[in-house]
Chain length 211, copies 2
Amino acid sequence: MELYGYFRSSTAYRVRIALNVKGLDCTHIPLSILGGEHKGEDYMSKNPQGFVPYLSDGDVGMGQSMAMLEYLEESYPAPALLPSDAAARARVRQLSGIIACDIHPIDNLRVLKYITDELGASAEQKTIWYQHWILEGFRAFEILLQDGKSGDFCHGNTVTFADLCLVPQVYNARRFNCPLEDFPTIIRITDNCNTLDAFIEAQPENQIDAL
Amino acid sequence: MELYGYFRSSTAYRVRIALNVKGLDCTHIPLSILGGEHKGEDYMSKNPQGFVPYLSDGDVGMGQSMAMLEYLEESYPAPALLPSDAAARARVRQLSGIIACDIHPIDNLRVLKYITDELGASAEQKTIWYQHWILEGFRAFEILLQDGKSGDFCHGNTVTFADLCLVPQVYNARRFNCPLEDFPTIIRITDNCNTLDAFIEAQPENQIDAL
């Protein structure tokens, strides 16, 4: 298995955690994002979006980190990263979707670049933008965690997709000094995750391309 | 089953198609988005994001349209909206993710409101923004459809999640006069979908709250 990524990519970070939890051997291939390697012809022929990560497993290849998580779960089911019953799976996927759809893409580098280069946003406006979408999403996420179904992790006492999405998003939030004091459950769960080797080894600073 | 929605919500539109394909009885509960009903206490207690759609099925309830599609697929598997093998499912989920993560959320009403109200974008800049993210995503989507695995629909000759995501996104693109001549496969597949009752009945103009 090969994962094309970038140490700071929070979507690659999700997939790195999944690979670690499942104990899967994978060659990590860092792309030089600053050098534009992800927009080069060679990489674009794999992933025409020109985004990291890209996962290949034999003759199966795909972009989109949530597709990767579902693929890994279906192909390498143990240990599971989704609960077994449909209602619990829906809860985990809803939590994941808040981050994967409604926070991360809006704060992605290409969007930040657009608001500064095309709309003239200042550095301060960019920071407020970045924090705004995290805070909006985390408010809902924190409330949903209060439904009695969370435990050490977002869903009970087992790591799921929701934790894989949450931890990299909190990492980014901290990097941009986003105030997190209103989210005690998010922080408690993130701290729990970050004691596990699977999460520690997936952290940006522990990647071979870390600056 | 109950689906809280809004005729123009393209994420509700995805779920309406899924319910129709699967022939599931569902009460549609339109919210007055213009009247702010989705931000009212009652609805926020169901979905703390304050977004439509929200699906309830007995005592299971969830926000996030992609979580709904996965839930419906797992709970009501026939007719299937995902292929059976993992590689094909990955392809469908990658295509779906391009729209569900990397187009739709960035063009959502709350983001459009932010760029105009907070960043001072003009009406013209707003339109360019809207089209920009659709065009970026559709370029990749169109290329991926050329891999020999598409047929009448995005994946072979059976409707999948990818079609459920694509058709509402094309609907929005047309509403905002987004030029689509570079995407002949997207248009061909969308036209095929729109001959089917499940898609026709899910169209915004055919909802009880259509203006």
